[in-house]
């Protein structure tokens, strides 16, 4: 049996007396479209921070393609192919859209430490960034400052930066959060168009989005994995309905 793309084993994280993650066993397969759902405070964002190395686990292990990366630092995990987006935009607001993506691509191809050549002389980085923006239908906005863009397009820049890292694992933290419904189709189209070979984990409250894309769904409650299954199984699970889906209809 081949190892899954990304796997966690009995992953735990405590903040003082609070257990934000408890014994999480999780598998993400290559090319998967996997959703992670759960009520507020269930530990979804903590889980992302554990996977990306922002915080170390209290105990347990994280494996990428069978290799233990539990003690690997954040920057190194990005190099190994784990990229994320943020629930609240984390963009380089005063830079142009192209420059935002340039930063990610330059970092990946190893151009960023270069001090004595102009950034503009790396035509390969510019070209790749532009092509990426084109694929996300952002090319027309490439020369605008990020803060000038409508919020939905800013969310796309979030995704563009992550894709500039050519990840094998892409963690999308509420990609459509805060986007007005009139604009939300651009986010859905972008997720639809993600390269097929990437393993994508989508964390979201938006059930339409989750059930549209996910082949598998993991439900987290109070820091533990409550249920995992196909959308059909999860949708039909009375326990899941009780703890989560019932509340989610409010939004």
């Amino acid at each position: 049996m081949t190892a899954p793309l990304l796997e966690t084993r009995a992953l735990c994280r405590n903040f003082g007396a609070l257990t934000a993650a408890r014994d999480i066993d999780f598998r993400l397969e290559a090319g998967a479209r996997h959703a992670l759902i759960g009520p507020n405070g269930a530990g979804k964002t903590t889980f992302i921070n554990l996977l990306t190395g922002v915080i170390p686990p209290t105990s347990g292990a994280i494996l990428l393609k069978g290799h233990d990366i539990t003690s690997v630092g954040q920057a190194q995990r990005v190099k190994l192919g784990i990229a994320r987006t943020f629930q609240i935009n984390r963009l380089f607001r005063r830079l142009s859209v192209l420059e935002n993506v340039y930063l990610a691509v330059a970092e990946r191809v190893g151009a960023a430490p270069s001090m004595l050549r102009p950034a503009g002389s790396r035509r390969d980085v510019i070209e790749e960034s532009m092509r990426l923006l084109d694929a996300l239908k952002l090319a027309a906005h490439a020369n605008r400052r990020v803060w000038e863009l409508p919020y939905g397009r800013q969310r796309l820049v979030e995704i563009a930066i992550a894709l500039g890292l050519r990840p094998e694992v892409l963690l999308l933290d509420e990609p459509a959060a805060g986007v007005p419904s009139a604009e939300s189709h651009i986010i859905l189209d972008a997720i639809d168009g993600l390269p097929k070979e990437i393993g994508v984990l989508i964390i979201d409250h938006d059930m339409d989005l989750v059930f549209r894309f996910a082949q598998r769904i993991t439900v987290m409650v109070s820091g533990t994995v409550f249920a995992t299954g196909s959308p059909r199984e999860i949708g039909a699970d009375p326990n899941v309905r009780a703890v989560y889906l019932g509340q989610a209809t409010r939004g």
């Binding site: 954040q74 192209l98 430490p113 001090m115 102009p118 950034a119 035509r123 090319a139």
Partner: protein
């Protein structure tokens, strides 16, 4: 969805990024003015030399503050380190050749920048601000206590600096050599900083300033970049300090003081930080203002400067250059519209 090779090179964004570092038509102006000053005001070359050193020091601060977003109040620590390196070596008769002296000043300041940066840059915000201030205060007090080497409160004077290139004497009364020497060093350092800020490294510093968290998330070694930037900036500040000691043939505790660190910060805010030329505009404006204000109201001229700073902070965050940029943009928009 996919497109052929090089089809994006003509996109306005790609053109803008690819040509961002090119020399603009107005960029030689400050250098022409500086040379013109040499011929037009031979009596004020002492003042001019001081101004050029201040610009060099302000550029070193702009690199850390304006580009990397490291908020520091202790930049004079490196200025002083450079000045004392030149001063002590010359006074003790160990080394007094000017150009290599500057390299030694840069090396000592860079070493202090690297050592302190490795510790300080683990913090941020107010903590960092206070720690940079503390580093400077510690150095100042150390210089005060090490009386045998530094001359303590009196400093070291009549430094026997050798002739420049073995030919040109540093005459304190007719500082023609000093002026041209400082101008040349400023030009070289400026070219280096200009190259740096337009490089991918400089771009990543801007990224760190704009969003540190995101730079971590794209896999950038953020702390390493900041420490490197801090060290390079310290080296340039060290050159500024060293050349100041050479030009004046003395060094005192004031080179390590908060006054110097604060005034260079004011200069950057006045001129506009993160803009390369803010140091030039700010230094000229600051020197002119303090000259003018101290004539009008000798006892409390700093009050006027303070009020101006308040106005800048409230209404023109990007300083004089920021105002100029907005004006230029408006003008272009007016011209574009018939």
């Amino acid at each position: 969805m996919t497109s052929t090779e090089s089809s994006w090179a003509d996109h306005p964004a790609a053109v803008a990024l690819a040509g961002r570092h090119r020399l603009r038509a107005w960029e030689p102006i400050p250098w022409i003015l500086a040379l013109a000053f040499y011929f037009a005001f031979p009596k004020y070359l002492g003042f001019g030399t001081e101004l050029l050193v201040t610009i060099l020091f302000a550029i070193s601060l702009d690199l850390v503050l304006g580009y990397a977003g490291i908020v520091t109040l202790g930049q004079a620590a490196f200025f002083g380190a450079g000045a004392y390196t030149v001063g002590i070596l010359a006074k003790r008769g160990i080394w007094n050749e000017p150009i290599t002296g500057l390299l030694l000043a840069a090396a000592v300041a860079a070493a202090i920048g690297l050592g302190s940066g490795l510790v300080l840059l683990r913090t941020g915000g107010l903590t960092l601000l206070m720690l940079t201030l503390c580093t400077m205060a510690l150095l100042e007090e150390a210089a005060n206590l090490a009386h045998d080497y530094t001359g303590g409160f009196d400093g070291l004077d009549s430094l026997p600096i050798a002739r420049l290139l073995g030919r040109f004497e540093f005459n304190p009364l007719y500082p023609t050599t000093q002026y041209l020497y400082v101008l040349a060093v400023l030009f070289v350092c400026f070219l280096f900083v200009r190259t740096l800020v337009y490089s991918p490294f400089g771009q990543s510093l801007t990224g760190i300033r704009e969003n540190t968290l995101r730079m971590h998330a794209v896999g950038a070694p953020v702390r390493r970049r900041l420490v490197l930037c801090y060290t390079l900036s310290a080296a340039i500040a060290g050159i500024a300090g060293g050349i100041w000691a050479q030009a004046n043939a003395y060094v005192n505790l004031g080179t390590l003081g908060l006054d110097r660190a604060a005034s260079v910060l004011i200069i950057l805010v006045l001129g506009g930080y993160g803009r390369l030329y803010g140091a030039f505009v700010g230094a000229v404006a600051y020197m002119a203002l303090s000259h003018f204000l101290s004539k009008v109201y000798p006892t409390a001229w700093q009050l006027g400067l303070g009020l101006l700073l308040v106005v800048i902070a409230l209404f023109a965050r990007n300083g004089i250059l920021g105002i100029a940029e907005v004006a230029a943009r408006r003008l272009r928009a007016l011209r574009a519209a018939p």
